[in-house]
Symmetry: C2
Subunit: 139 residues, 2 copies
DNA sequence: GATTTATACTTGATTGGTCAATTATTGTTG
DNA sequence: CAACAATAATTGACCAATCAAGTATAAATC
């Protein structure tokens, strides 16, 4: 059988790395009461100037389905990290708004996230980092 | 709030990339009747010179728990991609052996995997590939 | 050599997501 | 403007993996 190409190795190792990182971050963010997925949701909302997004848009950002987003946000609404808003122009959409509580939690959690990130990639050179980032973004 | 560091961006984008790649590979490998996880299991078994591994060792390779491996392998045993073997030296362990069917399927699936891999990373330079690979492996 | 401790699994209950179907609304077109 | 197609979101049924607990065996200690 042919040997694995670098491209094949890359996808396999990317996947394995993601699994490990996910677990590490889930453990760490768990101290703030959220999962990594929830952190990601907060992240994209926080990055939006209005801190409001449609569920579909959020799903797109997170790489998950609309139904996945519904299920992800339900518990977050219950603890008031986000809240629903109507879109006056289109009654189909249910906007997600980051609450003040949510924004604060995001900022707190971000310091943990920063620690984990920095220590995880501590021995990656700056130029490598930029190169990898560039590649990952266009995958 | 402080801006995200490159390290933070890297982890987020790594995660997003992994999600997309997983979906793409699940779709493609689905044509061979297996998921990406199952492909990975076959991969590590195939790479082993004896094509035999303990479940614990496989779990370690796959970055999942022992119970995850049990549940992953069950259906694979049913369709005879792998089979159980006893370890004469230690009655606790239940060895997983790649069958001929399993090896053949792995080889077939690998051509699909190769296509996807190559096209996915087609515009990544060789030197970048090696650099990224190096980083991912020590993560 | 008996007892404790550690290891290799397996299983029940739970979680986090998918998909397919459904509902409500909006946009399009004859 | 009536009918039909497309979009946003939710729900039920399912799937893949986790965790915690349980079982069986092996290793270490007294």
């Amino acid at each position: 059988m042919k040997k694995m190409s670098d491209a094949m190795s890359l996808l396999i190792n990317l996947n394995l790395a993601a699994i490990k990182i996910n677990k590490k971050l889930d453990r760490s963010l768990g101290l703030h009461g959220i999962s990594f997925s929830e952190y990601m949701a907060l992240h994209f909302l926080y990055s939006e100037s209005t801190q409001v997004m449609s569920r579909i848009a959020l799903a797109e950002c997170l790489g998950m389905t609309a139904s996945g987003v519904t299920r992800l946000l339900n518990p977050m609404e219950k603890i008031h990290l986000v809240e629903k808003q109507k879109n006056p122009r289109d009654a189909r959409v249910s906007l997600v708004k980051l609450t003040l509580t949510g924004a604060t939690l995001y900022e707190d959690a971000s310091t943990s996230f920063r620690h984990i990130s920095d220590s995880t990639v501590s021995d990656v050179r700056q130029y490598q980092m930029e190169s990898i980032l560039e590649v990952l973004k266009k995958l």
